[in-house]
């Protein structure tokens, strides 16, 4: 709270504390950006997961500290958001000073409902300024608001603003600075008898009636609506978008566009980033002598940075579409259309786009869950989003389906078994996600049913500046928060995969490998087809490249990571895995897509590119020939391949996803929960798959 001098004016040097409050979807965050630019502080209020966003700016030499309160429809404390808003406005939030002034954001196209919140703020008695947003849209709709009359009736300034073009921002600031000294708010008067039970309605109903009656009185003669003579362009768009047939078709087309964009259109950009990072790595390699430092820079730091930047195209593209859909009011419409499908498992329609996006990558998907206002729904969506099979799992499925699932027709000639298994992997993720959501709503998130009461805004044109701001903010927050952690994880995993390192032990293991191959060759009858592969492997050990790859393989197997693989062998053996597969699963933790590359290294192929025909065939041949140590028993059978696929379909072996969960929930509890439950499910799923598959002798 500011100190007042004797004459009651503020000393100009004190920062003015201003709270920004408004209904959701009223352009509040756009107004925040227009006033304060980028937030100087984003965090959580103590003890609750409600976002605390604070900005600071100067207007006419007056420093203004702007507290962005969560978007709420009411101040009646029913949710954590509302409780925080009330506590801040009453000066009862620890660490937050009592605001000197409140800006209530009110949507000019929907003033009646928006004034409900304003009526509650006016009752608190703080100096209040009303910012009428979306005025351009109101003008288009022929809604004329007499702001002077409204200001007179409410006893507080009412300022028209068009935040994206900064129209009215200066006037708003002038009013805010003047408000604490000039406004002497007197509480508004509702109908006196609303507390008396004489109408048969409940007390809350009587209060709401009294407030709306008050609003109707304030607004009478203030708003004049002159609807356009003919149906406006917007109304025609609205009619098509909400049409049962056309609306559904347009919805499907829009969602396809969003999905294909992040799934395919982002790929060339991601490839460009990868090859750029590869080029940089080659450059560093040519500058530095081989050794630990070069390896740290290339395989730890650069690989980590590449692993972060590579997500940017998908994040930027998804937020580009989300911002456009949000800006034109279609995001709520999409939630409306899909709600029934998700309601059954305890989610809501708002979870649809985040979950759909997670089929491309869980990271933008989890970030898109920001559009879900309801905390419980948002958390639930974030927790099940990684179960959607992302594009990084696809190469694993493709390789194993192609190599180990018999290519036979199922029923009809065109339906092949590998394709069916591939589809089943996607289905498994969806079904398990539905079950998990259902179980979580019945247990951890048990509570009163969450209402789905959502405003459906009409069609409006999205603003380029707002879209850009959304894309920039999402990309930046990812780079800044998650990015640094992902690089750190990458460096740790590099260290674990590189040390301990002993030239002597590596040479010994390469020799042992050679002898093992010679031994195996002697065990096979001369006509056995596998002999060819073993002869090949022996021959490759005589080449420089083959020997180098074998040394790398040995180094990795002897590293902490390799030892961890051996250490967990008892745990993965029931899944039909040998320690090498366990090792690859652990090594894929920094990024799922490296699992095939890691298998390549483990099987002495060096860093193969599974996307390339040669790398993939070579790996398949190695996998097919792989045997349990000291025996002729094959490791990779159909049940084992299925068990690996199921494990990868359900596990959370993706450090970036877990880091983003931490970033988005502002807590390390939820990534730990996600990792634990998913690893447990993945293990159980893989166990059941392998045991059942083996029992049926597949």
């Amino acid at each position: 709270m500011n100190t007042h001098s004797a004459d009651g004016t503020l000393s100009p040097r004190d920062p003015l504390i201003v709270a920004l409050l408004g209904n959701p979807n009223t352009g509040k965050s756009t107004l925040f950006s227009a006033l304060a630019g980028i937030a100087t502080r984003v965090g959580n209020y103590p003890g609750v997961t409600v976002e605390e966003k604070i900005g600071q700016f100067t207007h006419h030499n007056q420093v203004i500290k702007l507290i962005d309160l969560p978007g709420t429809y009411s101040l009646f404390p029913k949710s954590p958001d509302e409780t925080v808003a009330v506590n801040v406005l009453r000066g009862q939030m620890p660490g937050v000073p009592l605001p000197d002034c409140v800006i209530v954001v009110a949507d000019a196209t929907n003033l009646e409902r928006n004034l409900y919140l304003a009526s509650q703020v006016l009752e608190i008695g703080l100096p209040t300024v009303i910012a009428l947003t979306l005025c351009d849209l109101a003008d288009e709709k022929g809604i004329v608001i007499d702001t002077a009359l409204l200001a007179q009736r409410l006893g507080c300034p009412v300022v028209r603003v068009i935040a994206p073009t900064h129209e009215g921002i200066a006037a708003l600031c002038d009013n805010v600075i003047a408000a604490p000294a000039t406004l002497h708010p007197s509480p508004i008067t509702l109908d006196r008898d609303f507390t008396a039970a004489n109408t048969g309605h409940s007390l809350p109903a009587r209060e709401a009636m009294a407030r709306y009656a008050w609003i109707e009185r304030q607004l009478s003669g203030v708003i004049t609506k002159t609807p356009p003579a003919s149906r406006s362009f917007d109304e025609r768009i609205d009619a098509v978008l909400t049409h049962r047939g056309w609306g559904t078709l347009i919805f499907i087309a829009t969602m396809l566009l969003v999905f294909t964009s992040i799934f395919w259109l982002a790929t060339p950009l991601m490839d460009l980033i990868s090859s750029g990072m590869d080029g940089l790595a080659t450059g560093v390699e040519s500058l530095l002598p081989p050794g630990a430092i070069r390896s740290l820079i290339v395989n730890g730091v650069l690989a980590g940075i590449g692993g972060v930047v590579v997500f940017l195209p998908q994040i930027a593209m998804l937020f580009f579409f989300v911002a456009i859909l949000e800006g034109c009011g279609y995001l709520s419409r999409a939630a409306f259309l899909m709600d029934r499908l998700l309601y059954g498992v305890g989610l809501s329609g708002k979870s649809f786009i985040p979950l759909l996006s997670s089929f491309a990558c869980a990271i933008p998907g989890i970030m898109a869950a920001r559009t879900i206002e309801n905390r419980r729904d948002r958390l639930l969506t974030i927790l099940v989003a990684p179960l959607m099979s992302c594009s990084a799992r696809l190469p694993v499925y493709l390789l194993l389906c192609g190599a180990f699932v018999p290519n036979v027709a199922v029923g009809v000639p065109w339906l092949r078994l590998p394709a069916l298994v591939l589809a089943a992997m996607y289905a498994v993720g969806v079904v398990v996600a539905a079950l998990v959501a259902l179980v979580l709503t019945q247990t951890v998130f048990r509570g009163p049913p969450q209402p789905f009461v959502m405003e459906l805004p009409g069609w409006r044109w999205p603003r380029a500046s707002v879209v850009w701001e959304r894309v920039r903010e999402a990309s930046w927050s990812f780079l800044q928060n998650a990015g640094t952690l992902i690089v750190a994880v990458s460096i740790v995993v590099w260290a674990l995969a590189s040390y301990p390192y002993s030239q002597q032990l590596i040479e010994a293991e390469v020799d042992a490998d050679r002898q093992k191959l010679v031994w195996r060759l002697s065990q096979y009858p001369p006509t056995d087809p596998d002999r060819v592969e073993i002869v090949d492997q022996l021959a490759s050990l005589e080449t420089a490249d083959g020997l180098e790859a074998a040394r790398r393989g040995a180094a990795q197997r002897q590293s902490f990571l390799g030892r961890a693989g051996r250490f967990i062998e008892p745990v993965v053996k029931p899944l039909g895995w040998d320690w090498r597969i366990g090792c690859a699963a652990i090594a894929s933790f920094p990024a799922r897509e490296v699992v095939l590359g890691t298998l390549g290294v483990i099987y002495n192929l060096g860093e193969i590119d599974p996307g390339e025909e040669d790398g993939s065939t070579a790996l398949v041949r190695r996998l097919r020939a792989a045997t349990w140590d000291g025996t002729n028993r094959k490791v990779y059978t159909l049940p084992v391949a299925l068990s690996i696929m199921i494990f990868f379909a359900l596990c959370a072996q993706c450090a970036s996803t877990l880091v983003v969960i931490a970033q988005e929930t502002n807590s390390w509890v939820w990534p730990v929960v996600a990792f634990t439950y998913m690893t447990l499910l993945a293990w159980l799923g893989a166990f059941a798959t392998y045991q059942i598959g083996s029992a049926f002798d597949l």
């Binding site: 709401a208 329609g349 209402p451």
Partner: protein, 74 residues
């Protein structure tokens, strides 16, 4: 007694009362579904739920489950 979820698509009704005083009912009231207000059922989502309503000059979506708490007269 007629509830809002029984009102035909395209038809209008006047709210009589919102049952209960739990957070869901409070939210419905705050969103403007107060006794006496006129509501039009604009349509439903393709799968039949939720409903799209028009009241107080704006569009609101609520589930059938929630609409069943709202008693109306036509």
């Amino acid at each position: 007694m007629l509830s809002l979820q029984e009102v035909a698509v395209g038809a209008s009704a006047r709210v009589r009362d919102v049952a209960g005083s739990d957070p869901t009912s409070l939210r419905l009231l705050e969103m403007g579904l107060t006794p006496g207000v006129k509501v039009r059922v604009v349509g439903t989502a393709p799968l039949g739920d939720p409903l799209e309503l028009e009241l107080r000059g704006y569009r609101l979506s609520i589930r059938r489950n929630e609409a069943s708490r709202v008693a109306v007269t036509q």
